[in-house]
């Protein structure tokens, strides 16, 4: 019997090609073909993806025209946890379930966030550069360097990652604040974290850390007005998405000493323009979108994809659904 299913992965991260090979083998054992393809424009995507009901999307923008042109599509999987490259509204209208890999790297991103907080707070980069340039001792460099105990980490967004950061920060001795408009103050307080307004968070935090999705409503959430509310000894940490920050405003704020520094794993444009002023600043640490990529998270990532596909194939409730309001396409729309 011909298998009704067909999967496509358009573009992928070459560094982890083994993950895709492994997925291909797993699908093959179920009699499902996986087309692994490199595409560079909408026409190519549509042409290649036409037979597919399962689409694994890495980075490439899955826009309304793409979605409208794929009649067989039923499961649209963001390969990572972010899905800002997918037009979820359009997918919902067309009855397509959208999922993400929401949990595989939660603790890895939290660990990286905490590392940025500690490295920024201790001015590790500045000290390390100074030593290599012949300075010793360095006690007076990078001052003020403050003790962490009792200092405040403010989490903008208190989802899985925000909570995981709070837990770790408290273990070091920090106090934690959070702002999350989707949660009640009680839900935040239940985790031993103080619930505050955005303004209060910016004013009170020694480290402001961003843990929310990029959408039209969160783009440039941190702009000049917000940076001006932060204290001159505070740091901005971002392991979410670069577009959450108005980078031009951040550059001015850092150059004028209005905030102490920034720890950034993500930038507004990736890869960055070589002339990006952040790349030559001494009070900035940039780690090149590496937060989620531990050895363990990549193994968990593959497991998470498989679970999502399994839930779809068996007709159960689809795991990690990001558009639960979707009315899924039914059998009267043909598959292949």
């Amino acid at each position: 019997m011909a298998n009704l299913h067909h999967a496509i992965a358009a573009n992928y991260d070459k560094r982890v090609s083994w993950v895709y090979d492994s997925l291909r083998q797993w699908l093959a054992a179920k009699g499902i073909a996986l087309t692994l393809t490199e595409v560079s424009n909408i026409e190519q995507v549509i042409e290649q993806a036409r037979p597919a009901d399962i689409f694994l999307a890495y980075k490439l923008a899955i826009t309304r025209p793409v979605i409208a042109a794929l009649p067989n599509l039923r499961l649209l999987m963001a390969s990572g946890s972010g899905y800002d490259h997918i037009d979820v509204n359009a997918a919902t209208e067309y009855g397509i379930a959208v999922t993400n890999a929401a949990t595989h790297n939660v603790e890895d991103v939290a660990e990286h966030t905490l590392t940025l907080i500690l490295a920024c707070g201790r001015k590790i980069r500045l000290l390390e550069r100074a030593v290599r340039n012949g300075e010793w001792p360095c006690a007076s460099l990078g001052q003020p360097r403050h003790r962490f105990l009792g200092k405040t980490v403010g989490l903008v967004g208190f989802g899985n990652i925000g909570k995981a950061v709070a837990w770790r920060a408290k273990g070091i001795g920090f106090r934690a604040l959070a702002y999350d408009p989707y949660l009640s103050p009680e839900a935040i307080q239940a985790k031993g974290v103080e619930s505050v307004s955005m303004v209060e968070l910016l004013q009170r935090s020694d480290f402001v850390s961003l843990h929310l999705r990029l959408s039209e409503s969160t783009r440039h959430l941190i702009g000049k007005a917000e940076l001006d509310l932060m204290s001159a000894t505070a740091f901005l940490i971002n392991t979410g998405r670069g577009g959450l920050i108005d980078e031009r405003a951040l550059v001015s704020s850092l150059a004028d000493g209005k905030i102490a520094g920034a720890g950034l794993d993500v930038l507004e444009t990736e890869p960055p323009n070589p002339s990006n002023a952040l790349l030559v600043m001494d009070n900035v640490i940039v780690t090149g979108h590496a937060a989620g990529g531990t050895v363990e998270s990549i193994e968990d990532w593959l497991k998470e994809w498989k679970s999502i596909i399994e839930s779809y194939l068996t007709g159960n409730a689809i795991m990690n659904l990001v558009n639960p309001e979707v009315r899924r396409r039914t059998a009267d729309v043909p598959i292949s």
Partner: protein
């Protein structure tokens, strides 16, 4: 205010802490203790300048047996920081001189710095930040491992190590330790597994040193010990450089026998400008800055005063490094005691 016979002598000081010394002068004056601060460059100079001293506040400049023998009035040798490897404690004990230190003021700061080095090494921050600035985004995958479940091995289990252990457990690390002074009960109480040094070196993903430098601990980690460290592990040192045989360490790191090192201290400080460690990208060196937070000097000052207050007022001295000492007795003065 009773008249005291005391004179505090301080040879040299950390220029960043000038305010601390000025405040100390005022505080001592209120207690009728004379204060002598001299920049000295030789033992002869120290011996000459310190003649009236009953209390010696020692910053860095070695307080040798020769100096100790020639200061007849000396009763209390206070190390300005928590280390006292610059003081000949044995000679002091023989001469009835109490040695004390500022043991706790920077425990938190050094522990925090240690954790910052551990996670910065683990996440390969030096290499990542450098690569990004060289125009490489998403640098080629290197093995970076999740912290949770990795093993931190603490060599020494004093105040700083215990604080590091608490923080590390908050990050999900498993913590094992090798105590140098029979501290197994404290380890078990803190949920830390006591192990021998060899086991610690073989099992740990991070080996962190928290021991005093003494003749016994000099080069505690040499060729044999560094060979036992796992290829994926990091060595962290915020204690004293000479705990590690640095020539062997340089070789091990150059040959990438293990993953890297986070070092706040080196065997010889200041190091030569062309130190071979400074060209390695798997090494983070932070220039003996672990303890120097804004908050530390305030606590530091408080701690000196607690030690000095106890001594001046004839109460048992705290933070004593040589509790076996039999303090000198001077006529007309209550004998000094140790707690």
């Amino acid at each position: 205010m009773t008249q005291t016979h005391h004179t505090l002598f301080a040879a040299n000081y950390n220029p960043d802490a000038m305010q601390v010394y000025n405040d100390l002068r005022v505080w001592l004056a209120e207690r009728n203790v004379a204060f002598v601060l001299r920049e000295c460059t030789s033992e002869a100079e120290v011996i000459q300048q310190a003649q009236p001293a009953t209390i010696y506040l020692a910053y860095k400049f070695p307080v040798t047996r020769n100096i100790i023998t020639q200061l007849p009035r000396l009763q209390l040798l206070l190390s300005s920081g928590s280390g006292y490897d610059h003081i000949d404690v044995t000679a002091a004990t023989e001469h009835g001189i109490i040695v004390a230190n500022a043991a706790t003021h920077n425990v938190e700061d050094v522990a925090e710095h240690t954790i910052a080095l551990i996670v910065s090494c683990a996440r390969k921050f030096g290499a990542l930040d450098h690569a990004v600035r060289q125009g490489q985004w998403r640098p080629p995958a290197q093995p970076i491992y999740r912290f949770r479940g990795q093993t931190l091995g603490l060599v020494g289990f004093g105040r700083i190590a215990r604080t590091v252990a608490g923080m590390a457990k908050g990050l999900g690390l498993r913590v094992i330790a090798h105590g140098l002074h029979g501290s197994n009960d404290r380890m078990l109480a803190d949920g830390v597994e006591p192990v021998g040094l060899d086991t610690l070196l073989r099992q740990s993903d991070f080996v962190s040193l928290h021991a005093r430098l003494t003749p016994e601990t000099r080069h505690l980690l040499g060729e044999r010990e560094l060979r036992a460290i796992k290829p994926t592990a990091y060595l962290i040192n915020t204690s004293r450089g000479a705990l590690v045989d640095e020539a062997v360490l340089v070789r091990a790191l150059t040959e990438r026998r293990f993953a890297g090192a986070g070092l706040d201290v080196l065997e010889s400080e200041p190091p030569r400008k062309d130190h071979p460690l400074f060209v390695l990208e798997n090494v983070i060196v932070t220039g003996h800055s672990a303890a120097s937070t804004v908050e530390a000097p305030l606590d530091w000052q408080k701690e000196w005063r607690l030690v000095l207050e106890a001594f001046i007022s004839g109460n048992p001295v705290i933070n004593v490094a040589n509790p076996e000492v039999k303090p000198k007795i001077f006529p007309g003065q209550p004998p000094a005691r140790v707690s």
